[in-house]
């Protein structure tokens, strides 16, 4: 029995310390999913906390045959999709709320210029993600950040595997189009695939 399985069993029997261990172990993937989905640190913190509260309340109904991370991410993803649907018509500025949360460039890195460029690219990607449909966004985040298979994404988002494939393809194409438009506005720069490492 792994640590996680043991903690789940203990938590299902009312051991709060075991549940705290689960929170400690899965806080980063859950928070990251919420952050990528909602686009702001405060909302992501709230959503991640709410996710763990829902998990705490429904842990008795968790089927141990299922993957716990997939079940956990499923709750987080659906919570975020609900949040996004609720605020669909209200405009939110990402810039205002990201303070203190975005990855800062590492000035001590061997090449600070590259580091700044990398940071800008990540910020740009983060903004582009916000343009996607919530379900497509969840699929992309689970695919790239949580290394979920298409099958796991399908089960998490209650979709079929072909639907996940189609959504991922469409989302990446949409991101590429926006990426291209932004690149055209910001002027010529060296492309990563042109580097010898690509």
């Amino acid at each position: 029995m792994t640590d996680v399985t043991a903690w789940i069993v203990q938590a299902q029997h009312g051991d709060d310390e075991a549940f705290t261990n689960l929170v400690e172990a899965f806080q980063t993937p859950v928070y990251n999913l919420c952050y990528r989905m909602l686009g702001e640190a405060g909302a992501a913190e709230d959503a991640a906390q709410e996710t763990f509260l829902k998990v705490y309340q429904n842990l008795g109904r968790y089927d141990r045959e299922r993957s716990f991370p997939t079940w956990l991410l499923s709750i987080a993803a659906h919570h975020c999709i609900d949040q996004l649907r609720r605020r669909r018509f209200s405009s939110i500025s990402i810039d205002e709320d990201e303070e203190g949360q975005t990855e800062l460039p590492d000035r001590s890195a061997p090449d600070p210029e590259t580091e700044i460029e990398r940071k800008q690219e990540k910020d740009r990607l983060h903004r582009l993600l916000q343009s996607l449909d919530p379900t497509d966004r969840a699929a992309v985040v689970m695919r790239y950040w949580n290394d979920c298979s298409e099958d796991e994404i399908a089960r998490t988002l209650h979709l079929t595997v072909p639907a996940v494939k189609s959504r991922l393809h469409r989302a990446r194409r949409a991101l590429a189009t926006l990426w291209q438009e932004q690149a055209a506005r910001s002027g010529p720069r060296r492309r990563p695939y042109e580097s010898p490492a690509f």
Binding site: D16, T20, V23, E24, Q27, T28, P29, Y31, N32, Y35, R36, A41, A44, E45, A48, Q49, F52, L53, Y56, G100, Q101, E103, E121, K122, L125, L128, V140, Y144, W145, L168, H169, R172, R173, L175, A176, T177, W179, Q180, A183, R191, P192, Y193, F198
Partner: protein
């Protein structure tokens, strides 16, 4: 421009052959759309997980404690509302009786006591009458009537025992 199979290669998880890599590089030089897709795919693949601010678990514990408290308070108020509702409904249903009780409690108590005494007296009278009847009746009934009565009772008992045996056998057969 035909983007196939390049976009499939870009998004595939399997590593490409040397020839495929060369073909893809050549295509990317001339196709800005696939070049953007390659850049996005690379950026997504190299993106790192963003951790929450330090103390996430502590904040969760505070939130969990607050939620447990609010559930306890909600349960208490729910129980209180239920009790008040039940008491109110019972009071409303019993109001006609309660009104009388409240108006003249001594009269009502006296009436209940007198009813109890009357009931007790009736029961005693009935027991006296039954005792007298049991003592007097045998003398009035002739011996032949007793014999018929006994025979009828014996026949009924036999019939009852026979049907009982029959029913038990049928039940075992099932």
């Amino acid at each position: 421009m035909n983007h196939r199979p390049f976009d499939d290669w870009l998004l595939a998880d399997q590593p490409l052959t040397a020839q495929q890599t060369r073909d893809l590089q050549a295509h990317l030089q001339n196709c800005p759309q696939c070049a953007a897709l390659a850049e996005v795919n690379l950026a997504l693949s190299s993106a790192r997980l963003v951790p929450p601010q330090a103390g996430f678990t502590d904040r969760f514990q505070v939130r969990l404690a607050a939620q447990k408290r609010s559930v306890r308070v909600r349960n208490f108020w729910g129980f209180l509302i239920l009790v008040v509702s039940v008491v109110s409904i019972l009071t409303w249903l019993a109001w006609p009786v309660l009104k009388i009780v409240l108006q003249s409690p001594v009269d009502l108590l006296a009436s209940w006591l007198s009813n109890l005494v009357a009931l007790w007296a009736s029961l005693q009278a009935m027991s006296h009458v039954s005792a007298v009847l049991l003592r007097v009746m045998p003398g009035f009934i002739p011996v032949s009537a007793w014999a018929v009565l006994l025979l009828a009772a014996g026949g009924c008992s036999l019939l009852w025992a026979f049907s009982l045996v029959k029913l038990t056998k049928n039940a075992q057969g099932v």
